[in-house]
Amino acid sequence: MAVSSLVPAVSGPTLAEITTAITTNAAPASVTNSSIATQVANNATPFGGTWTTISDAAFPNATSVTISGLGSYKYIRIIFNIAISGSAGSDGIYLRFNGSAGSDYNYVWTRQAPNQTSPETVSSWNDSLIQFTQAGQFAGTCTGSLTISGAQSGGRKIVDYGPGQFRSGQTGTTWGGWGIWSSSAALTSFTIFNNAAAFPGGKLIVLGAN
């Protein structure tokens, strides 16, 4: 009995459509869900460009730091070394896009401290921000990076962050996670902030690519 006769017929993209989609970065014709098709078209372009330095400067001494005028990049990469003040309540380091505090951010992140027997995971859906790490009440530095894809108009903003590390009262704590901003607007700015005290300083590098 031929093997093919044992395989039930399955609806969906044909092999030819999938091949075309891979080579042309377009959604298969049989993908009728408009949101999926749009997402594939907007986010499927392979990363074949080079990173352009948008900004390379000291991390500002402020509680809220916004970099705006980002331009029309599909990918934004943020590399940072943030000094942490250790002020009581300065636990979270947060991220927002385009100044939006709407309930359309989702995130999951994990951290592992040297004194922990297992990592802890934090997640939140429909939040007003992305929490990308938790500094704790220890003075020190937080080093890491964020990569944002889908930064152009029409794409969902997918954020990969970490791995990062603290050099503080819990030296060696590593963290990483991911988040999504469910907005199709072009990314024009991002804001890194905390709710306790001004970041004492550090380094902030912003790169863009298409």
């Binding site: 900004s55 400067a57 402020a62 509680t63 809220s64 970099i67 979270g92």
Partner: protein, 42 residues
């Protein structure tokens, strides 16, 4: 009481703004502080 400091840098115009939070930003800040307390309580 001094409000938190915000820093805004436009990479296109190279304009740099350093100031205290305005009323809208400060109202959002108070909401964020409250929400952070709730996150810690979970």
């Amino acid at each position: 009481m001094n409000r938190p400091i915000v820093y805004i840098f436009d990479v296109t115009t190279q304009e740099e703004i350093i100031r205290e939070m305005n009323d809208e930003e400060y109202a959002q800040h108070l909401l964020d502080v409250q929400a952070e307390a709730l996150r810690k309580a979970k």
